[in-house]
Assembly symmetry: C2
């Protein structure tokens, strides 16, 4: 005998649904059982036999739309949910996609399919590839990006580095993601000095290099720093949504008082892609979710660097940055992580022109003249 | 030949350091090499040979304090960082602990050691175990917690459930973490109705049951909902820091206009503990970090339920909720996830009295009278 719930009213559902494809480790019967668990876990979180009849059982509970073999010992379950379950907010959408199921072994989110009624809640990238190209005044070639470091340098030294990078033809000069608001390069002292240095270089070159300060910060500070940065003349922003939460990035991108391109950094997100049988796929995490949450470029470690992503995983990210998602703009995949000038040709061929190349320390290793190294980077990209 | 950086000023460092112990898969020489990579990756993110001499090389770069074998094929590296690197903000502390290294395979964060100069930035749990016991007017026994569900019920039905739970002697009645701000139980309609129902039950029983609404929400909404909930008479709050970001929880706990106990839910955090060779240990994630970020109770899936945590992992969480962390209060470990009344005796013995038992669907399955089921739950806890 169980206590039964009889709703006094049924929830009103439009019938429109969104879908998540999960990759499940196991044979078909195990995969089906796990898929059925997911339909409950991600919605009612209630024993199946006790779910009330009517719209909760028929509409709120997830629905297995298909279950297909996907390589040796794995199945892909496509499960749909009522759009109403996602409640119009990104945290609850993420929760419906993978909240509790993230804690179950052997299940990975492969991809999302979001209908207009959900996508309409998310303006997504404010600039995207066309907007960033317009801002930089360039077309047809990859965007060049580098990082100001190492942590510990004073603002004036970071500004001097930024000046040289801009002089050498780098398009986007970002703070290293480890430069936050430490006393030795406090945000407000740093942002102004670096933005002015880049402007000075632009006067000299006639180019439109932009500075992207790191606004990854405490909860109430992200927006204030972004607005301060804009007032200083910064042309873009760097955010690590794994540190701030994805919704802080969404809010930043959607904020008309900020209105700057947002470059997403993968800090702390690595655990989601650490194992092929858990977490979230590269395609969905670094492609679809970054884009939904308003990133205009998505940084990730390229194959062949000091991290471990494969060519196939990097291809997944590039695909996720470009695949159709309603009216959402395509965004730049931004491979980095231990890249050097010797990798440019391979990367250019692999990613095509719609890519942002991020070379940090490698620019220092390429010769003793930093400005010259940047010029060579630029030439390699132009030639390729 | 490389471009060399000569700082115009050295960063001023106090010499005080915090430490992170990483578990690294591999033999000793591989583990040492990876530990050395971590010292650069988490700080300067710069080629080792190019790191400027002086305080950056000697103080900012992480330092391997020890490297010891830790079971078959694994080593533990204890690495220290300048407290200044963490920059006084939780996102940057998390970044220094594991930002980029989260993307490298075979490395897990085991535990943190934070000195007073860092801990002093984080008031941590406002209530902790003693504060919650005082609020509830009870001592010596575990706290009883349950969840309002399933998603899709209207506010008045959730309120009726809450009334029965409170009547039956449940201490903390929380929203299910999947109930956010959906149209069928919008936050503002729901919070008031449920808080009133619990107050009504308290009048009848003379107890002090509290309602903990789920304030996991879009970035700018978390605080507004928390304040609204408080004004309605809610006695605690539920937050999923994996969805909002840890810093949103910290800000909530530190907010004097809110001043309610915070119960942390693990949604979307599962990928951090999905694999023993990556992510963050149960001890550090569900214990230390939840506490640092202000949670008064940390929900996690108990061993033997429908999730996969082992007894040892659950022990780690309980330890992390209680281990010395400066002036930070101990917090309640809150095991749940498919628990039923039949598990109470085992859980009571395993966790001792300082635990919050979370039973959701299991309370419905224990018999046809929900109030009676709650009373039995309470008796089992009192007796044990």
């Amino acid at each position: 005998m169980s206590a039964k719930i009889t709703p006094s009213r049924q929830p009103s559902l439009s019938g429109e649904r969104f879908a998540v494809t999960y990759r499940i480790a196991g044979d078909e019967s195990l995969a089906r059982a796990r898929a059925q668990e997911i339909t409950l876990e991600q919605t009612v979180e209630f024993p199946g036999e006790l779910v009330p009849e009517g719209a909760i059982r028929d509409g709120i509970v997830g629905r297995i739309e298909s279950l297909d073999a996907s390589g040796e010992g794995h199945f892909e379950a496509r499960i749909s949910y009522a759009v109403e379950s996602a409640g119009g907010e990104l945290p609850q959408l993420l929760n419906t996609v993978f909240g509790n199921t993230s804690i179950k072994p052997g299940i990975r989110v492969e991809r999302l399919e979001l209908p207009p009624s959900i996508l309409n809640n998310y303006p997504g990238p404010r600039f995207g590839i066309p907007g960033i190209r317009k801002l930089l005044g360039m077309e047809g070639r990859p965007v060049l990006c580098t990082a100001l470091k190492p942590q510990g340098l004073p603002p004036e030294d970071l500004a001097e580095l930024a000046y040289r990078f801009a002089l050498g033809g780098i398009d986007i000069i970002k703070d290293d993601h480890g430069i936050a608001n430490q006393g030795f390069s406090a945000f407000r002292a740093r942002a102004g000095a670096i933005a002015r240095a880049v402007t000075r270089a632009n006067y000299r070159t006639g180019s439109r290099a932009v500075y992207a300060p790191n606004v990854t910060a405490a909860c109430g500070e992200v927006r204030d720093r972004a607005i301060f940065a804009r007032e200083c003349g910064a042309g873009a922003l760097l955010v690590s949504p794994g540190l701030t939460g994805f919704d802080a990035m969404r809010a930043l991108a959607a904020d008309d008082a900020v209105a700057l391109p947002v470059i997403a950094h993968p800090a702390l997100l690595g655990s989601f892609t650490a194992h092929p049988d858990s977490g979230i796929s590269h395609y969905a995490l670094y492609g679809q979710l970054m884009r939904l949450a308003g990133a205009d470029a998505s940084i990730f470690p390229n194959f062949g660097g000091r991290f471990s992503f494969s060519r196939e995983e990097c291809r997944g990210i590039a695909d996720g940055c470009a695949a159709p998602m309603g009216a959402l703009e395509k965004i730049f995949p931004a491979p980095g992580g231990g890249m050097g000038l010797d990798k440019v040709a391979v990367m250019r061929e692999f990613y095509g022109p719609d890519v942002m190349f991020l070379i940090g320390g490698g620019l220092f290793q390429a010769g003793d003249d930093l400005v010259e190294n940047c010029r060579r980077f630029r030439e390699l990209v132009d030639v390729a």
